[in-house]
């Protein structure tokens, strides 16, 4: 069950929001300060609703601190009166939503739901990526080299000429690659390679005819 973390230095508002969210079926954790929240934050799913102005570490500081974590918890700002520069800064840094404290509860629930959904999505993507990386780790260095040439769009004959090996050998390696990565087409192969960041690396070049 995803947890909604609420951070606000105003105890009264904290309690009121907690009541509202709990009554609507959310699992809620409250914190009187950003530092308190960061200290207790585990790895569970959820999002954070935070006040912007707080003594000590304020909302923007909290957002920055969260951005440094692997699993970035989505942040919903709930502020008394946000000025334009602050709001722009918060949104640019990826805040899920920026609401005022007198926003209707539906807007708050919608923002929380969006944030939780995004968290879930991020978590799912992370898990998928992790699995892909594991499959890529199973490739030999020769297979990885051929894969790079494949996703660069080279034909088997070209690859064989470039690497100075038999075209048949290239075909064998490609079969091993598609089997290990559990893909069925070159297009799919390209997509997973892109997902793990393989395409960002430049293709190794060798002087022709050598």
């Amino acid at each position: 069950m995803p947890v909604v973390h609420v951070v606000d230095d105003d105890a009264s508002f904290l309690v009121a929001l907690e009541r509202l969210l709990k009554a609507s079926g959310y699992v809620v954790q409250t914190y009187a300060s950003a530092a308190d929240f960061l200290a207790k934050l585990g790895d569970g799913a959820g999002c954070v609703i935070t006040d912007l102005r707080m003594p000590g570490m304020d909302g923007l500081d909290l957002q920055q601190a969260l951005a440094r974590r692997v699993n970035m918890v989505p942040v919903v700002f709930l502020s008394g009166a946000g000025d334009i520069p602050t709001t722009v800064q918060a949104m640019r840094r990826g805040a899920e939503d920026f609401l005022t404290k007198d926003a209707p509860k539906e807007a708050i629930f919608a923002a929380v739901d969006r944030a939780i959904a995004r968290d879930a999505r991020q978590r799912a993507e992370n898990a998928h990526l992790q699995a892909l990386r594991a499959r890529f780790d199973a490739l030999t260095s020769r297979e990885l080299e051929i894969l790079r040439h494949v996703v660069a769009g080279q034909m088997n004959k070209q690859i064989a000429a470039d690497l100075g090996i038999n075209e048949r050998t290239v075909k064998l390696h490609r079969t091993a690659i598609t089997t290990k990565l559990e893909v069925h087409s070159v297009a799919e192969l390209t997509r997973v390679a892109q997902a793990v960041g393989l395409l960002d690396e430049p293709l190794p070049t060798f002087p022709k005819g050598k």
Partner: protein, 614 residues
Amino acid sequence: MNWMTIAWPMVAAACLTLGMIELNIGLWQRPRAPRLLFALSAFTVACVAGLELALMRTDVLAEWWTLMRLLDIAVGVMLVSLMAFIWTYFGNGRKWLVLAVPALYALGLAFDYLPGAPAGSGMTYKAVTAFRTAETFGGATFHVAEGVPNPWNVLPYLAVLAQIAFVTDASVRWRHKGGGWRPVLVGGAVVFFFLCGGLQAALVETGLLNTPYMISWAYLAILIAMSIELNADVLAGARLASQLQESERRMDLASAAADLGLWTWDVGSDTFWATSRARAMFGFSESEHIDRARFLGALHPDDREATNQAIEDALATRSGYDVEYRVPLPDSKIRWIAARGQVERGARGTSTLMRGVVLDVSTRRQTELELQRLHSELAHASRVSMMGQLALALAHELSQPLGAILRNTEAAELFLEHDPPDLDELRAILVDIRHDDQRAGAVIDRLRAGLKRRTIALRPLSLSEELASVAALARGDAMARKVALEIDAAPDLPLVMGDPVQLQQVLLNLALNAMDAVEQMPAAKRKVMLRAQRHGEGEVEVAVKDSGPGIAPERLGRLFEPFFTTKANGMGIGLAISRTIIEAHGGRIWPENNADEGATFRFTLPQAGVARSS
């Protein structure tokens, strides 16, 4: 006709003139006795001169004797009156010498008038043997008698000697009593001419000097000397009078230049005397009779009681009288008048006087009122601008309770949909809603109080509460600017006398200034501390300390000047108004640089219930 018939009448005329002058003064001016006695002496000297002239003109023996006897009386009166004059004028001398003069002279005079004295004899001569015509300077001729001298004729000379002794004695005493050189000159002149007169008479009577009697000449000289002495006082008086006139003129000029009206009030007869300027100020006509009721009636009704009380107080304590009151003018304007005066006990304590000045201070009062109004407006303007700065922070503060109320009502609606509804939770929600509503109300009250323009209203208040409420106001701003705002109020802090709104204004101003000062420091070093603690006897000190760069020494002295500012968008009125407010509270405000870092503004306030020392 010869020069003698002119000279002696002139002597007589001079004596008469002197006598008339002193008689005239003596009749009008106290003390009378010396001048009247002087006049008597002068008239008798005139008689003596006349008789002397008659004696030198007559050639009938019987007539000569009659004149001679009259002359003796005249000389006697002259000696005695002169004696009495000197005695009263010098105010001292030996009484027995005074009495000796008439006594000795009266004895001598007995030879002239005692019944049974032979017809051909008198005080001067036992018998007259011959008349002859003598000639003297300038060919003037006169008759002179020759006869057998009477040895008792020594008596009038003894009287003159007694007189000389008296004058000498009286002069010496006068000088010892601090008379300076005046007694020496006056006494010396008198004695000298007494001697001259006596000697001349003696020489004539013994036939050694071939002139008529010239006693009157010597005594004229004495009269002149005494007249000069007497009138030195008159002259001094005249000088004094002219000085008085001069000083009166100066006074008039000064009072006219200062636009002062002068007044005197005779309490016993309840009559005011006032200069025309003073009358004009109250709208009294030149001839109108003014008494206390009329005076009070001219004042503004609201000022009558206080002014009357001030008069009573001044009369009761015999002290100064210093009031300001209004006089309504016909054109429905108001004239402000400052009156100052003092009570003077009248002569012999019977009639008391109040004397003083009135000054039209309407212009000054108007300027003061105008200044007060301007200051109030300026203070208001600065408060509004300060409130403007804080509007955002206040909105933030207000949004907390309002947001909480909204969330609680929404939660309550959801709870009501449960079956059965959780009543305990709903009750807790309602308690919280009420609490938050009060919080919001308090914020609004503070804002409203801050924006309202009003005069200072002192009441006992707790500085720790004021610090807390100012910190609440400034907290939003402090958070936005990442300034650590701390409060430190000593637990045993006594109450102070103050106007909460104005003190909050000062504290806010100082707190905001402090936050401005630390803005350029790194976030971790932005600290502002509000501290309140006891300060000496009967005072509390509030310090607003910052961790900024401090104040340049050359600016320390100028910070409180109006429109002096070091900020790009500052008006330079915050500190000026803060100082005005603190001083109106009877406190002091001053800045200082801290030993370690930053600056501290301190101000003091009098403790409630402690008498102000000033």
